[in-house]
């Protein structure tokens, strides 16, 4: 963001601005009153479960669908509102499709050159973009002769070649196997930042969004639940949905007064001031366990299960008074299944209004 500092008086124009977006399919709302901005040069993720409207949002921005209500502006220019509809081909948006959509009847180089205006510099531009994605050697291959990861990079190169104002990626890593996914993800992030592109990434994979995006729009049932940086979403989720969708979440029923909640495991300090019944969000790594000194000295519960992951482990504690809590501990905790434990928390927790009709239960 250093280049914005040169003009501190002026609010920078967002690379993409979506306001009041709404879309129905067959009468059913798919996107409702959706609004968010993408800043120049950032990677913004649209994250949500399947069917939350994120791909529809992407297609509306790209001009492949028409919204029912709301506006879309790219670099300050309105491309879609009630009276305007700039067709897809004039929006200067590079799309990377989930299945890549490489033209099977064209070579890699011709795929990449497809979006370029005819001109003498074409060949150089194609070579430059293919060099950027590391596929210059394969320029004369047909798409079918490439691996999944290579097809992915060709799709990215093709989208970047015309130097679009915006690059949009629709579940770009879902067709890759797990191992490849991590390395391709890293490559794509590097390529995008080398290209200086503003990018919108659609994904249902929270890990992907957390590790790649500068900011994330969490979507649920066609609405934006929260927009923010990954840390913010993780530590200060705005709703139970965001809390459960990003990271592992468990909720503990309690009675709050100001910034303290009385729960099964004693008083828990709260981040947000609350009153009355609340559900307190406990991330497993916020839970501390301490072995009870003897059978008689009192305790909260018993460790009933352990999942070992090498650098950390998950211990499930059955609380004597009711349900269970999962704690993430280091590899050498010294606590084993069968041990009686005291449970406490590290730092202040988030409290949410309790969910109707549900007992005090960890998820």
């Amino acid at each position: 963001m250093s280049h914005f500092a040169a003009q501190p008086m002026q609010q920078p124009v967002p690379a993409l601005s979506v306001t009041g977006l709404g879309k129905r399919f067959d009468g059913l709302p798919v996107v409702q009153d959706l609004a968010f901005d993408a800043r120049e040069g950032e990677l913004l993720a649209l994250l949500g479960p399947s069917g939350c409207g994120k791909t529809t949002t992407l297609r509306i921005i790209a001009g492949l669908e028409r919204q029912d209500t709301g506006t879309v502006a790219i670099a300050g220019v309105t491309v879609a509102d009630d009276s305007t509809f700039v067709p897809a081909e004039r929006r200067r948006i590079g799309m990377v499709f989930q299945d890549y959509a490489l033209f099977p009847h064209m070579s890699v180089a011709r795929n990449v050159a497809y979006g370029l205006k005819r001109g003498p510099d074409n060949r150089e531009r194609v070579d430059a973009v293919l060099r950027l994605v590391g596929l210059l050697d394969l320029k004369d291959r047909a798409p079918a002769e490439l691996s999944g990861g290579q097809q992915q990079r060709v799709a990215l190169a093709r989208a970047l070649a015309p130097q679009p104002d915006l690059v949009m990626l629709d579940e770009p890593f879902s067709n890759l196997d797990q191992k490849l996914r991590v390395s391709v993800r890293r490559e794509v992030k590097q390529i995008l930042s080398d290209a200086g592109a503003t990018a919108i990434l659609v994904t249902h994979d929270q890990e992907e969004a957390l590790s790649l995006a500068d900011r994330i729009v969490v979507m649920n049932r066609g609405r934006a639940e929260q927009v923010g940086a990954p840390e913010e979403l993780y530590h200060r989720p705005a709703s139970r949905f965001v809390a459960s969708f990003i990271g592992d979440a468990q909720f503990l029923r309690g009675e709050a007064r100001d910034r303290i909640a009385h729960t099964l495991i004693g008083d828990v300090p709260l981040v947000n001031e609350s009153h009355g019944p609340v559900d307190v969000l406990l991330r497993p790594e916020h839970v501390r366990l301490e072995r009870a000194r003897s059978e008689t000295s009192g305790r909260h519960g018993t460790v009933v299960a352990r999942e070992y992951f090498g650098h950390h482990q998950l211990l499930t504690v059955a609380i004597d008074a009711g349900h269970s809590i999962v704690a993430r501990l280091g590899a050498y905790s010294g606590i084993r299944p069968g041990d009686g434990v005291w449970v406490s928390v590290r730092g202040a927790m988030m409290a949410f209004p309790p969910e109707a009709g549900e007992g005090p239960d960890g998820s």
Partner: protein, 524 residues
């Protein structure tokens, strides 16, 4: 909303397509006797029943031959598979009326077979080949390739990984075929069967020669005997109603499914299925279909040619006739292909009234028997457009009206397999809808487009009634020359142009088959 570049040509084509039907209705309502009296006669009911029966029977028999044949010749390790793949489509080059002539000469009274049996066995009468059975068998043998080619193209377009997935899910070959492959072939089978049924109710040569009383024969008899165009037109309207019923049925069968494969969008080649102990039965099946629909008719034609030559007939007119057939058929193929594209794209890529209209309109030409199309254009030309009357242009337009469905059908099948994401990718890369069509959609649909062009070329060259009535004066083709001699009973003279027609129209078939086999679309 489709772009104007699509709507305008589609509307122009639609107007031209409407012309013969408008004439039919106009003429039918002019009748003194009243249209309803004409339609409600008992003979009309018989004719209607016969037409439906024949069309259904021919289409069904065609499916039973074509589907196994297509699978065996595209997906298995059948010996000489490429050869059978080509041969199985070839009966299409034999005009069905030539087939009818062959049947009459072989199995009719005083035919070859009776000749063989009469001497040693004293057989004087064979079961009659006239009527339903003869017409059914003859039409089936020479029209099953419509279904075959349609299914074959679809099988080649199928994503083999779906088949592999089914096998991996523990289904055997048979259950994979019926549970996984066959449902995916449904649009292709329906399109093929529809073409066959429409061909059957429009056929004029076979039912006339084998004397089965269906609409086309009744219309022809009416036209020849009294020049009463009102009666012919009224029967024609009924025939159109029948054909429209077939179109509606086709839409229902096809359902709303989308048949492009999801996944990477890039196909890999299919592995052939090992036939094992089914190899010999499969070979026998392919062999006997080829023998009956190809070998026997050509053998009998050759017999006639030899008899004609030994009787002093010359072949000097043949080159000019071949040239004329190619000229008329080639022009028809090009014009029809171009006219069909906007309709096919509208029907596949856009939903709504306009695209349904486009799809329905494209079948309209086929719903009119060729003889009525010809009469409609003769009337139109003579009365309203003398400048085009008896020109090649009018002949080609009439061909295009009649053969448009074949081109549209083949194009639709290919377009259905083009992943819409590819078009969207093109749009997002800055290409207009028109440029996307030209650079992405049409090139990817090319196999189907070219199949459609070849189909039109084949059928236009084989056409008889339109050429007979609309060809410029002095313009003879192989078909008209053959019909002329056939109608005077000179089979020896008719056989040479018939055989030439068969050979000449085999060229596009062979070209298509070898072209497909020779190059992978990704290599070019």
């Amino acid at each position: 909303m489709p772009p104007p570049a699509l709507i305008v040509p589609a509307l122009v084509v639609a107007v031209v397509m409407m012309l013969p039907l408008a004439y039919l209705v106009m003429r039918a309502t002019e009748s003194d006797a009243g249209v309803m009296n004409l339609i409600l006669r008992e003979r009309t009911a018989v004719v209607f029943r016969n037409s439906v029966l024949l069309a259904g029977a021919v289409a069904l028999a065609g499916i039973l031959i074509a589907v196994p044949l297509a699978w065996i010749t595209t997906r298995t390790d059948l010996p000489f598979r490429r050869f059978w793949n080509v041969v199985a489509g070839l009966p299409l080059v034999i005009p069905s009326y030539v087939g009818a002539l062959v049947v009459v000469a072989a199995f009719g009274p005083r035919g070859l077979v009776q000749g063989w049996l009469e001497g040693p066995f004293g057989v004087e009468r064979l079961p009659s080949i006239y009527g339903f059975a003869g017409a059914w068998a003859t039409l089936t043998l020479f029209t099953y390739p419509y279904t075959y080619m349609s299914v074959r193209a679809a099988l080649e377009g199928l994503d083999p990984s779906l088949e592999d997935a089914s096998l991996c899910l523990g289904r055997g070959r048979w259950r994979t075929f019926f549970g996984c492959i066959l449902p995916q072939l449904r649009p292709a089978i329906a399109a093929g069967a529809l073409l066959t049924a429409l061909y059957t109710i429009s056929d004029f040569g076979v039912v006339t020669l084998l004397r089965y009383d269906v609409f086309t024969r009744a219309i022809y008899v009416q036209y020849r005997s009294s020049f009463d165009r009102s009666t012919a037109a009224a029967l024609g309207v009924l025939l159109v109603v029948l054909a429209i019923g077939l179109v509606v049925a086709e839409g229902w069968v096809r359902g709303r499914a989308r048949y492009h494969s999801v996944g990477s969008g890039i196909r890999r080649g299919a592995r052939p299925v090992a036939l094992g102990r089914w190899r010999l039965p499969a070979l026998l099946f392919c062999g006997s279909v080829a023998l009956v629909s190809l070998g026997v008719p050509i053998g009998i034609l050759l017999y006639w040619v030899v008899r004609g030559l030994s009787g002093g007939e010359g072949l000097e007119r043949l080159p000019a006739l071949i040239g004329n057939s190619f000229l008329a058929g080639g022009l028809a193929a090009v014009v029809t292909t171009l006219a069909a594209l906007p309709l096919a794209i509208l029907a596949v890529r856009y939903r709504g009234r306009l695209s349904r209209l486009a799809a329905g309109m494209s079948y309209l030409g086929y719903a009119l028997p060729a003889i009525v199309v010809a009469l409609a254009f003769v009337y139109f030309g003579a009365n309203h457009a003398p400048w085009i009357y008896q020109t090649m242009a009018l002949l080609v337009i009439a061909y295009a009206v009649r053969f448009l469905p074949q081109a549209v059908g083949a194009q639709r099948l290919s377009l259905l397999q083009v992943n819409p994401r590819l078009e969207e990718a093109s749009r997002s890369l800055g290409s207009t809808p028109a440029r996307t069509l030209a650079r992405i959609t049409v090139p990817l649909a090319r196999p189907g487009v070219l199949t459609g062009t070849a189909l039109v070329l084949l059928t236009a060259m084989k056409d008889l009634p339109i050429t007979l009535i609309l060809a410029p004066i002095g313009f003879s083709t192989l078909a008209t020359e053959m019909w002329q001699y056939t109608s005077t009973g000179s089979y020896g003279r008719a056989a040479a142009p018939a055989l030439a027609l068969v050979l000449v129209s085999a060229i596009p078939s062979v070209w298509l088959a070898t072209r497909r086999g020779g190059s992978d679309p990704l290599e070019t």
